[in-house]
């Protein structure tokens, strides 16, 4: 395997690393950079626990070669809460009892953030679509959907979509 240089933006920091060419983004984040909020639930693209944003779009970091992130901007859950201020999605997951074991939660929040960043006023079906690649074995999904809708409403200034 070749060692190759890699530069990219990670949660607004500039990263420069030498990596093995076969390294996945997930492995780079967790094993090399020590950013462990992003989880590995399958390492084969079937669970969504490793979801991150690449240039704003949700991607499964276990399937992305780190080398493909050259010059791109990657966002993980570590970057979502600014200086300890929780994002409305995080607060909504807390208030809505939308996490049990918490293992799916980082991927869920990132997938939801990707949705709300491009569509601040999603309906229930759009929320369901946005998280349908993310497996949760604990919650039955309903509290997660409700929490995302509640966060969206809060971010719009408490205005509820006419149901």
């Amino acid at each position: 395997m070749n060692r190759i240089p890699l530069r990219f933006h990670l949660n607004d920091a500039e990263i420069g690393e030498f990596i093995d060419s076969g390294t996945t983004l997930l492995s780079l984040l967790r094993d090399k950079l020590g950013l462990t909020a992003t989880k590995s639930g399958c390492n084969q693209g079937s669970c969504g626990a490793c979801t991150v944003l690449i240039n704003g779009a949700p991607q499964l970091s276990c399937l992305v070669l780190a080398a493909r992130c050259e010059g791109k901007s990657v966002a993980t859950l570590e970057g979502v809460s600014d200086n300890g201020t929780l994002h409305p999605l995080q607060r909504a997951f807390m208030d809505g009892f939308a996490a049990q074991c918490g293992f799916c939660t980082p991927g869920m929040i990132i997938a939801a953030k990707a949705l709300l960043d491009r569509n601040p006023d999603p309906d229930r079906g759009e929320v369901i679509d946005a998280i349908s690649g993310n497996i949760c074995r604990c919650t039955g999904y309903e509290p997660i959907i409700d929490a995302i809708l509640a966060a969206a409403a809060e971010m719009r200034g408490g205005k509820r979509k006419s149901a």
Binding site: G34, G41, C101, G102, T105
Partner: protein, 456 residues
């Protein structure tokens, strides 16, 4: 939507509680939503070795030879472990509660009894090297006839799955199954208005926690070893590991408690003993985690069960006899199945008062992945069979299924089939509450019944 009903049992409830009975935020949830909750695999250790298992491609085979020489030549492979390295290779998880005999090798050596059984552990600097090394271990097998059906396995002449038992079933104090005998079912069948017998079947179910089973064992500076694990039971794991390693108990330490879902799948003690040993021999931290594929096909599932229920019922709705033959497909080894099979027997005939009950509950060995505990262990599949059977009985005699269940539901003071008196019953009230919630009409007579006294 959830509502709390104070309509029932109000006089039994303590009304002066402050910290329980009220909503409190989860103490761990901020960690979950920020990704700071530390699961076992969120720890990084310098020099970490990865463990990859060589597994049986056969359901049942004799092992003729094992050649690891090519694996050892793979760059990055540090060493391999075989059965010869395990101080006490044959174990059974429940030996701690006196379940016998030891019937499962940590690493297979003479025979494999299910597809996926672990044979050789390869330790390497990277996952890739460990995988590559595992692929180069050469095992020569002589395939043997396998048995997959629980009733086939019980027949004379069926292939013997597990020599440690000497037969394809677990023996309960001299009996080939766990028995419950209450009243006289045959006499009652003769007196019943209707007798029906039905068969129910389930297939194995995976726990599918989003975090797969795994652990990291780290040697510390004073010849002790710490295992960061997602086990559901720390001491179970510690004690079994020490017995397998013939290690003093105090040399081992388990740290865990934060788990990405268990559902019963992380009660087995599979990854820790071998990781402990690997760390002891290699003197480096070792990680053994199941891939998703291993979690799906190699980790214990919920057992498949086959259940025959024969009932005698009267036209007035009373069930007077229930005879149950239940077969738990334990797979190749006991793990928790002897316990679950007894629990299944104890659960019969369901939450109903039936004066004549006969149960034979079998724990059967077959050549499949050993099954083990899962949410509702010993009960979930039994409930499926019982409650579909109840629906059939109600329709058979033309009764409403809710009223039929209320009529037969156990009440305080009733004798259960296993000989205990019923206390704290609340099935009648649950049915009444569900009927109300679902607008399911039930007669006034049934609305007035209670678990606390016999209804009219």
């Amino acid at each position: 939507m959830l509502e709390y009903s104070s309509k029932y049992f109000a006089e039994e409830r303590n009304q002066s509680l402050h910290e329980v009975g009220v909503e409190r935020p989860r103490s761990d949830v901020q960690g979950h939503v920020t990704g700071r909750t530390q699961f076992y695999a969120d720890r990084n250790f310098p020099g970490l070795l990865h463990l990859k298992m060589v597994r049986s491609p056969h359901h049942h085979a004799r092992i003729k030879s094992i050649d690891v020489s090519k694996a050892l030549k793979v760059p990055g492979v540090v060493r391999v472990l075989t059965a010869a390295d395990i101080p006490s290779n044959i174990y059974t998880i429940l030996c701690l509660i006196q379940v016998e005999p030891n019937d499962e090798p940590v690493l297979a050596f003479d025979k494999v009894r299910y597809k996926g059984e672990q044979i050789v552990a390869v330790l390497a600097d990277s996952q890739r090297a460990a995988r590559e090394g595992a692929a180069r271990v050469k095992v020569v097998y002589e395939p043997l006839p396998a048995v997959f059906d629980v009733e086939e396995a019980l027949k004379p002449g069926a292939p013997l799955v597990n020599e440690y038992h000497g037969r394809n079933w677990f023996t309960y104090e001299g009996h080939h199954c766990r028995r419950v005998r209450h009243g006289d079912v045959e006499k009652a069948f003769a007196a019943a208005d209707h007798v029906i017998e039905e068969k129910y079947q389930s297939s194995p179910i995976e726990h599918a926690p989003t975090e797969t089973t795994g652990c990291i064992v780290v040697p510390d500076s004073n010849d002790r070893f710490t295992c960061y694990s997602n086990t559901q039971a720390l001491y179970f794991t510690l004690d079994n590991s020490a017995l397998i390693l013939k290690s003093p108990f105090h040399k081992l330490r388990l740290v865990g408690g934060t788990v990405g879902g268990g559902f019963g799948g992380k009660v087995d003690v599979i990854v820790e003993p071998i990781a402990f040993l690997a760390a002891m021999l290699a003197r480096r931290p070792v990680k053994y985690e199941f891939s998703r594929e291993e979690e799906m096909q190699v980790s214990s599932p919920r057992a498949a069960e086959r259940i025959y229920i024969k009932d005698g019922v009267m036209n007035d709705g009373r069930i007077i006899a229930r005879k149950v033959r239940l077969y738990v497909d334990a797979g190749a080894y006991s793990r928790h199945s002897p316990y679950g099979t007894t629990k299944a027997a104890a659960h019969m005939p369901g939450p109903y008062t039936i004066p004549n009950v006969w149960v034979d509950s079998h724990c059967v060995y077959t050549n499949r992945t050993p099954s083990s505990a899962m949410r509702g262990f010993g009960v979930t599949i039994g409930d499926f069979a019982l409650e579909v059977q109840m629906d059939k009985l109600a329709r058979l005699i033309g009764m409403d299924p809710m009223e039929f269940r209320i009529l037969n539901a156990y009440r305080d003071g009733d004798l259960k089939a296993h000989g205990k008196e019923t206390t704290g019953a609340a099935l009648v009230e649950c049915i009444q509450a569900a009927a109300q919630l679902a607008d399911w009409p039930i007669g006034e007579r049934y609305k007035a019944m209670s678990s606390q006294r016999k209804g009219a």
